[in-house]
Symmetry: C2
Subunit: 465 residues, 2 copies
């Protein structure tokens, strides 16, 4: 996008001094074209009818696409100077409007910062815009792979996953992103007149985890890897959902069985699994798995007394041209259903690790067909449990709140995905104090993704920064 054109189209905007901003970042790719701004102000928030209403008209004023960290620093400095909000955009595969610019201003598209800086055994250092798929493709020849990835692996960027996600395929073994050890280091640029570059290592790196880019612009991440395994995709069909859950739990608790994915899903959701429909028998609930090749015999031995029937078993192929099995798990499950039925939405649950199967069973009996459960086994704080992303037949906001109350009464925690702030979406309804304090250091004027960290109030005097 040539700068001249951009400057020409922004004359009418009177909220921010965009012309001055553009002059200051001369030479950096920027667009003020409506179609660019519209397309790059969105993510997958439309899974939520509530967020759809709230976010559909949000629009960046300018989309800037830096080529390197030097350009990121220049953009940050210019935003600070002109007090223009900056919202960072990765692969934009999130579901909570993480990268939607609530206050307009600049969307910083990180797509070109996609270089792999180095690999060591068990570690990779990458720029934040690198795609998860590309990272895995680069590390696999060296015998390693990312410990976890969202179901959106084929389009998500690592920076967005760390800043906006919480876990995914692989969390059944390694837990979520916030478990100690799952982020080794992060390099960030602060939003100040003279931006600083800060390297956060160890526990400090958690300051940018699931902060939606409110606590610094992540430019580089150092991520731990898992040894690459030969994975086998398996679908097991069960007469009842609770049987799939029970067997899934057995495998989840069997530490001798190597696995990357264990996802029980309730019929009729599998009816919508187009790419795998022939392996989804009518009326059967499924357990969808990725099992280590060396563990597949042991997996089948455990399965024998459970009543489950294997309908699909094949080596995992992760090709750009083919829909992978993992795109039928986590929140892709909702997407598969939304493709043919726009009347549904979803919730995000965390089931208790004790009396786990009972909690799943109770919830199921409470709502019948109005709520279709599917679970993702994952470790949390050292315990095996499952998150759930139940698909809800949407009636109204009030009914959705009733359903949330029903889950909570069964001991299931809800992270509400129909809100845009970090606090409202958190299971604990607050932002980590460390993140809040850190934000004062790195974004004193509150220009990074404003509106997402509700607890943050710029300090008096920050106007003079």
């Amino acid at each position: 996008m040539p700068q001249a054109a951009a400057v020409a189209t922004i004359a009418s905007n009177d909220r921010y001094p965009l012309g001055d901003f553009l002059s200051d970042i001369a030479g950096i790719a920027a667009s003020t074209e409506f179609v660019d701004r519209k397309r790059r102000s969105r993510d997958y928030f439309w899974y939520s009818p509530i967020l759809q209403e709230k976010l559909k008209d949000k629009l960046a004023d300018i989309v800037v696409t830096p080529r390197d960290e030097v350009e990121v620093v220049r953009v940050a400095a210019a935003c600070a100077k002109h007090r223009i909000p900056l919202t960072v955009r990765g692969g934009a595969t999130g579901n909570y409007g993480q990268c939607v610019p609530l206050e307009s201003g600049v969307v910083l598209d990180m797509a070109l910062l996609n270089r792999i800086e180095w690999q060591k055994p068990g570690l990779v250092r990458v720029q934040a815009g690198a795609k998860l798929y590309d990272i895995d493709a680069a590390t696999r020849p060296n015998g390693f792979e990312l410990r976890m990835h969202p179901s959106t692996k084929r389009s998500a960027a690592i920076g967005g996953f760390v800043a906006g996600g919480s876990g995914g395929v692989g969390s059944v073994t390694f837990g979520g992103m916030r478990e100690p050890g799952n982020i080794v280091a992060a390099r960030i640029v602060t939003l100040e007149r003279e931006p600083r570059i800060i390297e956060l290592r160890g526990d400090a790196a958690q300051k940018i985890s699931r902060a939606y880019g409110t606590t610094g612009i992540i430019t580089v991440l150092e991520m731990p890897l898992a040894p690459a395994q030969a994975w086998i995709d398996v679908i097991v069909a069960f007469d009842d959902f609770i049987e799939a859950v029970r067997f899934g739990h057995t495998v989840a608790m069997a530490d001798g069985i190597v696995k990357k994915l264990l996802s029980p899903v309730e019929w009729p959701v599998p009816r919508h699994f187009t790419a795998f429909r022939s392996y989804c028998p009518d009326g059967k609930s499924l357990l969808t798995c990725m099992i280590g090749e060396m563990s597949i015999d042991s997996f089948e031995a455990l399965l024998a007394p459970s009543g489950g029937m294997i309908t699909y078993k094949a080596p995992s192929e992760d090709l750009p041209s083919k829909v992978p099995l993992y795109e039928h798990t986590w929140n892709h499950t909702t997407l598969q259903m939304l493709k043919s039925d726009r009347g549904v939405t979803y919730l995000q649950c965390l089931y208790p690790h004790e009396r786990f199967v009972e909690a799943v069973d109770r919830v199921g009996k409470l709502f019948g067909d109005e709520v279709l459960q599917h679970l993702e086994f994952m470790r949390l704080n050292g315990y095996m449990t499952a998150s759930g992303i139940p698909i809800i037949r949407y009636r109204s906001r009030e009914r959705l709140d009733e359903i949330i109350g029903g889950f909570e009464a069964c001991g299931v925690m809800i992270a509400n995905p129909h809100v845009v702030t970090l606090e409202d979406g958190s299971r604990y309804k607050r932002v980590d104090a460390d993140q809040l304090g850190f934000k004062h250091e790195v974004d004193p004027m509150g220009l990074l993704n404003p509106g997402k960290m509700r607890s943050f109030v710029p300090q008096a005097g920050s106007a003079e920064v």
Copy 2:
């Protein structure tokens, strides 16, 4: 050992028809020399003064050393024909007299069945007499290692570990040998006039796990492997044992930190760690660890607020010529102390996974210096817990029983290591029904390691088998 000499020395034995037996196994290496029989009728039972008294005079009549499975079958047939007990011997590194021939007869030394049959990614198929050290040395160049090994890795055989052990270094990640998936297959020879060769796969392979060789002669094992990692040996010193336990538990529960060993050990035990003495500050309790190289920064970040101080950190070297750090964990800890103090013995404990730190603390306050705790974090049934092998200042059998009672009152389960039968040593005080039933199939006359499976009574009519 030439057969002629063997035959000459056994004329005086009137319990078993040894001469006829030797004729039947002509061509197979056998010894009746006293020094061979004495040496190969023992293991490390002498850690227990009670077992020392009970087992020190047990003596095989003949030691047979087959070269291959064909010879094993011939020996088994001859033992069945002449009703001579057969006790299998691996590396003889056990502590419960697992390979001590209580009823004399034949000791079958598996040392020459040490071939690695094949390797595949994540799997190895080996003969039962292969040394753990040699297996790891053979699989490491292919990027794999055994999931777990006892602290006796440098001398133990895989068959003995599976038949006599329960877990070890690596169980903090993979759980014990009995977790589903940790034994893929076992090939056994039955003790019958016409011995059968049976391949047990999947769950069935558990029939030979920790059965002391009473449920068939294991000739081959198919074991799952872990991806080989670059391990860092770390020693952390703490003012108090309970701080070492608490930090160890934190690391144990952190699924993002890759580890193979986490062993808190109470001062003054480390005074006896000769090879590492300079890294064991006076008065400090230790946490001894093997941490994945890619997780070492995260480990140190977690350590920072704990009060612990790293005194040693170096890549794990597993060389025949050098005492490894892991030989100061599990029951090698007891051995390090016994080298200079023969007045101690030990117990085997399983701590509850809930209120774990409290249970350790309570036990510590109960006995003071009479009981020195050291723990081994391990997974069990999907939960993180720890086994403990406390070192006991031995006074009497009665006092030992009192101490056992004290542990049990704190919710700690005891697997008594001062007994020779499977049942008495089990935490559940019984043999798995599956193993007992299976023994009737594979050893109807009860000739395999007689005296170890107390619940077994040969069926009427088995005399005619």
